[in-house]
Subunit: 139 residues, 3 copies
């Protein structure tokens, strides 16, 4: 069994942002030499997400509005987590809705994807350096 | 390490539907010959879900009402994604709540499940052909 | 390829509770002898969750209030699942928001984690014996 590990770094200009990381994951798979296996891609921070959906700007705008409705940022004093000096309690909730990680099949050395699947880094408390872990196992 | 891959196809009569696919996944595991490993089951489309919960019709009815409340289909012009000519922005959100994929342990050649766990295909924009991917790795 | 399996048991005093199980998972990894691989940790019951987030009591309080708002327990007759004699329909929804499982990378024989990641058992219908499955594969 082969294994491979890489960290990807991000620093977004906005508090909330979605970045298509599919090309980076494809590159990791090529570097790994794995032909048949699984790739785990996960946020290493607990106010961020890795998820799979459509690379369409209207949808991303809809996600931002929808997540803000489900878990509003303000007023920040509505959350006890923010009593610790943080202002990001809402980001911990948005990340649970969108998910921490994806596991994707590797078949014939490439991402085994449907027609519109793309992997995104989802940031909910940005403007600082944060990481994504890529771990690949297989043959 | 052994690996196995299969696509399952669905075409639901309703826009939103839940289909128990546990027997098909058990069949895949038998075909794979894997005794100890992991099975990944994921929707290949971004307005559908694979999730694990109870096979109880009252609960499925509750899920439909709840998801419609969290991410309403109408009015469709509330979503910028629908400006592209689609009417399924809500389905992209419902799928994030329910999740894209499940990873299940295979032990002694079978799904390693608790008493009520069943695997479902969750459709949120049906009435057309859509796929689920089953990928198995192990020994 | 090595594989390892263990069940962890829980019985919470409250209906809703979050328990940090990271030390137990680290112990499983040591017992497995796996140096490079993946660990799957999943609730075996469909009204419970395994998720990764922060071990901060204010945040956990916020999660409880937020989940109760997204999927209220009472009145129990608002859910058709509860017509079966259950009163836990809301717990099946809360579990979907928080997720059934996590998959974590194992690197150099330990959990490959960011600075604040901790694994929690999330209980939404407690006060009885329930299980978590730990399955490890790798070399």
């Amino acid at each position: 069994m082969k294994s491979y590990r890489k960290e990807l770094w991000f620093n977004t200009d906005e508090r909330m942002a979605f970045i298509n990381i599919t090309p980076e994951i494809e590159k990791c798979i090529r570097e790994s030499g794995v032909s048949e296996g699984l790739v785990l891609v996960n946020a290493m921070h607990i106010t961020a997400s890795v998820f799979i959906n459509d690379d369409e700007s209207g949808l991303h705008n809809d996600y931002k509005i929808w997540l803000e409705k489900l878990a509003p940022h303000a007023p920040i004093n509505q959350y006890r987590h923010n009593d610790t000096g943080e202002d990001n309690a809402d980001a911990h909730m948005k990340r649970q809705v969108m998910g921490r990680e994806v596991v994707v099949a590797i078949t014939k050395g490439t991402l085994d994807f449907g027609p519109w699947e793309q992997i995104f880094y989802g940031e909910f408390d940005g403007r600082r350096n944060k990481r994504v872990l890529v771990k690949i196992i297989g043959d």
